[in-house]
Subunit: 222 residues, 2 copies
DNA sequence: GAAACGTCTTCAGGTGGCTGTCAGCTTGGT
DNA sequence: ACCAAGCTGACAGCCACCTGAAGACGTTTC
């Protein structure tokens, strides 16, 4: 997932960003209201973590303007104190959930998971190889440090076949079948080339070759 | 194979686990939905046996979230009663087969076999030597601790001949015949070499030499 | 429209695992 | 002790696989 974190506190922001990164999500961190609105305009996010107390205006206004634009991106509010009025205002303005500071990272994780599930987006990677998270139905993988790596459509198609049945050995023929939906034959080592490219992005050990049989995801890669 | 059993009933779970374990598979047993999801996240399985009625949520959700993640691990459902609606919902959600409780262990075995066969993996080892399972038509053997040992195609061919008729003594000539489909003569001790290589992987006692006659699989190896 | 860019496919040279061969050694029978 | 049969480490050749490069094609940018 792609997450926008709106938080002016350096310490807290850093902790949250790191933690959410570790869950395998791409995190942009906006430290002011202007920052946040610029980001929201430029990028489509799957989730927004929103602090209501910002130096240059209320976080609530960000949420309101989002919903005014009929943007239904899930928003989780982080309120500075357990102020009932804040929470009510936030939820009324269209927030999906809220957290009370000091933020417990485990709780944050659980709430992100719950909200995302409600929206049908994926928060759990289908697979983690070498600390690199692979997500289903997304042409992107996330490295351990949070950096995003984009996959081309063919690269992703190959990886998808391998990940769908993790413990199985998949033959080149099976992979080709998935790549070229009937008819469109290919007469060279295309699959080998894409495996090679995937290895460059995922790490050499990520995909195991079984000579004369096919390929398989390495299950033991830590 | 590595199997995840999701079942909250102690009695039934124990019986099923024991039975499946006897077939030579590694079985993890999850007794709750949370347990099951944690296991699925951490480990790649070849098969999931899924009870739909769990204390902390529906087993169907587990299946749905698996398929949402484009995970195609085979799933066999166990429904509490012969509820048509359950079965239909399960199959629609992407289950591969279903069992009706009370579970008949023989039927369970047959269905596991059928589902696995559809996916090209074998569930019944042709033979167990030294706690190492040998599967038909696969160039792979599995040690007692679950570690996999890959065989080269020639190694496999030799082992296959020996396993095909377990108690019989197979001559070198017969084995050579299987290795080199007519014409392609071999004029050295190739068979001896491959027996040696196999012994290195299977254990010294796995293959017995009958001087002047041929080889045979040791049946007494525990 | 032209240039810059990214993707897909093909090809060619390189690499490493698999294979068959042999030589020297071990084992079993007499 | 001797011989025949079998065992196994070493090695050269082969073939499956790997990978860098380049051309064809489509897309974006100016």
């Amino acid at each position: 997932m792609r997450v926008l974190l709106v938080e002016d506190d350096e310490m807290l922001g850093d902790a949250v960003k790191t933690h959410v990164h570790r869950q395998g999500h791409a995190v942009d961190w906006a430290q002011s209201r202007d920052d946040a609105e610029a980001s929201l305009e430029a990028v489509a996010y799957d989730l927004v973590l929103l602090d209501l107390r910002l130096p240059d205006g209320s976080g609530l206004d960000i949420l309101k303007s989002l919903r005014d634009r009929r943007d239904e991106t899930p928003v989780i509010i982080m309120t500075a104190h357990d102020q009932v009025s804040d929470r009510i205002a936030g939820l009324n303005a269209g927030a999906d959930d809220y957290l009370v500071k000091p933020v417990d990272l485990g709780e944050l994780q659980a709430r992100i998971h719950a909200v995302s599930r409600r929206y049908g987006t994926h928060t759990l990677p289908a697979l983690v190889i070498n600390g690199i998270s692979v997500y289903p139905s997304e042409r992107r993988i996330v490295a351990g440090d949070g950096a995003e790596i984009l996959l081309s459509s063919r690269e992703w198609a190959v990886l998808d076949r391998l990940v769908a049945r993790k413990r199985a050995i998949i033959s080149k023929a099976q992979i080709e079948e998935a790549l070229y939906a009937f008819g469109a034959e290919v007469e060279s080592n295309t699959v080998e080339v894409y495996v090679s490219r995937l290895r460059r992005k995922l790490g050499k050990e990520a995909i195991e070759t079984v000579r004369g049989v096919g390929y398989r995801i390495s299950t033991d890669a830590a």
